[in-house]
């Protein structure tokens, strides 16, 4: 049973925010401009991004609202009756509520009656997990259509009040706490949605899902990106082990952190999975027309990419496509937002038969996911 992406949608809250405006939205911690903002923004090369908080750090859109808006746009563009949708899969790093699962909340907003739901939990790759669950459900002929939504509201973790409250944290102690600040200038908000069906759309191009693969390396590496612990060497407590949530916040256990030193490993493991799929005959780089990568290409401009070229399996730069620089890094939502714009953008002419390789790595604890699409018409 072949499964097709027959419609897409996205939602980006508020106006595009340029680099200079970012600190106005997230807020200057204790009234002091960051020493690291410009440096980190320069490295990630993101020009504009969106936030679901305003300049007073008040939430303008909940995560569920963003997910619902993207899903609604996807449904509005689809040639399918809502009652034919049998499943809703929702991915996010963190829903508005720790419980219940975010899919329940999105289902309620969308008023989709009596469907099967799944909420996937993780960071960036939770979107691929949701997509794979929905893909498999359709392949097993459990449903005729499934809606997959990924949404991310990172800015609530990144606003100045979070850092100001962490008075007994590494962030408060150090003049510059790179690991704690790194993601503050990387992540932003947004949502994307894909509709999966067991037949192509009657009009326009659909994307057949050819294969999906994932390789996680958590068994080998320490945690690299996380919320829930203080970030101190040797500390084993996680946020709920503190006597109060206030104490957890003071100690910095609710701050989002990236162990920047370990970050290289996600590129390495990304390349390892890519080569593994080449070796298994699943991934054929020479046949890929478009490469959609959650990482920006300049991250790969290093020795390992040169080695892939020497080994004859690199994908030429002109086949890479991304909207990271204008839509921001929206974590789990990024790939769906990218697919949505890719199918609509005038930058690129997607033709019937085009083959698209998508790569979503997650640095959390080193999960790498890949999927392959082919553009088809009915």
């Amino acid at each position: 049973m072949s499964v097709y992406i027959t419609s897409t949608g996205c939602f980006l809250p508020g106006p595009p925010i340029n680099c200079e405006q970012v600190e106005n939205v997230l807020g200057a911690v204790n009234g002091q401009a960051s020493f690291l903002r410009v440096q980190i923004q320069k490295a990630n090369q993101i020009e504009t991004r969106h936030y679901a908080i305003d300049e007073n750090q008040q939430t303008t859109h909940s995560n569920v609202e963003m997910a619902t808006n993207a899903a609604q746009q996807c449904l509005d563009r689809a040639f399918v009756a809502r009652e034919n949708i049998g499943m809703l899969a929702v991915a996010s790093t963190q829903g508005d509520h720790p419980a219940p699962g975010m899919a329940s909340m999105v289902q309620a907003e969308l008023e989709l009656p009596s469907i099967e739901i799944i909420s996937t939990h993780g960071i960036c790759s939770s979107s691929t997990m949701a997509l794979k669950a929905a893909w498999n459900s359709l392949r097993l002929e459990e449903h005729d259509a499934a809606l997959v939504v990924s949404s991310e509201l990172a800015s609530r973790l990144l606003k100045k009040q979070r850092y100001e409250a962490a008075t007994e944290s590494t962030f408060a102690e150090k003049k510059i706490d790179f690991n704690t600040e790194f993601l503050r200038w990387m992540l932003s908000d947004g949502a994307g949605a894909l509709l999966l069906q067991n037949k192509p759309s009657p009009k326009g191009l659909s994307l057949r899902i050819d294969w999906m693969k994932g390789f996680s390396h958590a068994h080998a590496f320490p945690t690299c990106m996380s919320v829930g612990s203080s970030g101190r060497i040797g500390e084993t407590k996680t946020w709920q082990d503190y006597d109060s949530y206030a104490e957890a916040e003071r100690k910095g256990a609710l701050l989002l952190r990236q162990d920047v030193r370990l970050l290289d490993n996600i590129v390495r493991m990304g390349v390892d999975g890519y080569l593994r799929l080449v070796e298994e005959g699943i991934n054929k780089p020479s046949e890929v027309d478009h490469f959609l990568c959650h990482y920006s290409s300049h991250h790969f401009k290093n020795k390992i990419l040169e080695m892939l070229e020497a080994a004859g399996v690199a994908i030429p730069q002109e086949r890479w496509w991304t909207n990271l620089y204008t839509r921001g890094n929206t974590g789990a939502a990024s790939m769906f937002i990218m697919i949505d714009e890719f199918m609509r953008s005038s930058d690129v002419q997607v033709k019937e038969g085009d083959r698209i390789l998508c790569f979503v790595p997650e640095s959390g604890r080193f999960n790498t996911t890949y999927f392959h699409l082919t553009a088809v018409s009915a």
Binding site: Q39, I40, K42, A43, I176, F178, F182, H217, H219, A220, F221, P222, I233, G234, V260, R261, L262, L263, D264, N265, I266, V267, R268, M269, V271, D272, L275, R276, V278, E279, Y295, H298, H299, F300, N302, K303, I304, L305, E306, M307, L308, E309, A310, A311, G312, V313
Partner: protein, 247 residues
């Protein structure tokens, strides 16, 4: 912290300084693909070795460093032996690769003296490091490398060089500075690690040239990759064995 520390940089072993020069035949390309995977798997699995994990987690101590250097010295001494043996096992039809390997051996055959100096700078005594015998992993690794390098035209040793050179680069790019930061030791304690990596970057183009020269059949691919896998496993064993000394 500098820009270079933000960007996701540096892949496995050395880099290609001038990639326009790299044009490999199809077998050499497949070999390089597979060697990359062996390297990436090796590098990942190193993260599970307790001593290396402490570098990642930030709990590595001066005592760990002394122990690391004590165990590295034998490997480096034996390294120059198998490389020279490899060179002498190539016949005149492989004179190019023989020249490259002789030069390589020349460059590195007294590296162990640098380790001894690092050891003393770290607070150890010359007697302690010189009396240290090969650990179980070093025995296995050395035994395997001497066996393979004694065979005629041992092209599979390219797989061994790939892993060992790659590790030199990794020591310099990922470990040397981190170890100094964690332990408060000075640069004179990590000279071997830092120097070794710097030197290895120059060897990368030579590696491609050698691969292009000798990797002309599927059989060549298979033996080079297999030797890389064995060396990766035995090298990790050598590092795992350090832990037994610490306990």
């Amino acid at each position: 912290m500098s820009d270079s520390e933000i960007a996701i940089s540096d892949g496995p072993s050395g880099g290609v300084e001038n990639k326009e020069n790299v044009s490999l035949n199809p077998h050499a390309q497949v070999c390089l693909q597979q060697l990359l995977r062996v390297w990436l798997g090796f590098e990942r699995d190193l993260s599970t070795v307790p001593l290396i994990r402490r570098i990642d987690l930030g709990t590595y101590t001066v005592e760990d460093h002394l122990c690391f250097l004590r165990n590295l010295r034998q490997q480096v001494i034996e390294g120059s032996r198998w490389i020279t043996r490899t060179a002498s096992s190539f016949d005149s039809e492989h004179s190019e690769i023989r020249s490259t390997i002789i030069q390589h051996a020349m460059d590195e055959h007294k590296d162990y003296e640098l380790i001894e100096k690092d050891y003393i700078a770290t607070g150890g005594s010359i007697e302690d490091i010189q009396e240290m015998s090969r650990n179980i992993g070093s025995e296995a690794l050395h035994g395997f490398l001497m066996y393979r390098s004694s065979r005629p035209n041992p092209i599979d040793l390219l797989g061994a060089m790939w892993i060992i050179e790659g590790l030199g680069e990794k020591m310099a790019s990922s470990w040397a500075e981190r170890i100094r930061e964690l332990t408060g030791l000075g640069e004179d304690s990590t000279r071997f690690m830092a120097y070794h990596g710097h030197n290895d970057a120059d060897h990368m183009q030579q590696f491609y040239d050698m691969l292009e020269e000798v990797c002309l059949t599927q059989e060549s691919v298979d033996i080079i990759v297999k030797t890389a896998k064995v060396v990766a496993r035995l090298y990790r064993l050598q590092l795992e064995e350090i832990e037994y000394e610490i306990r």
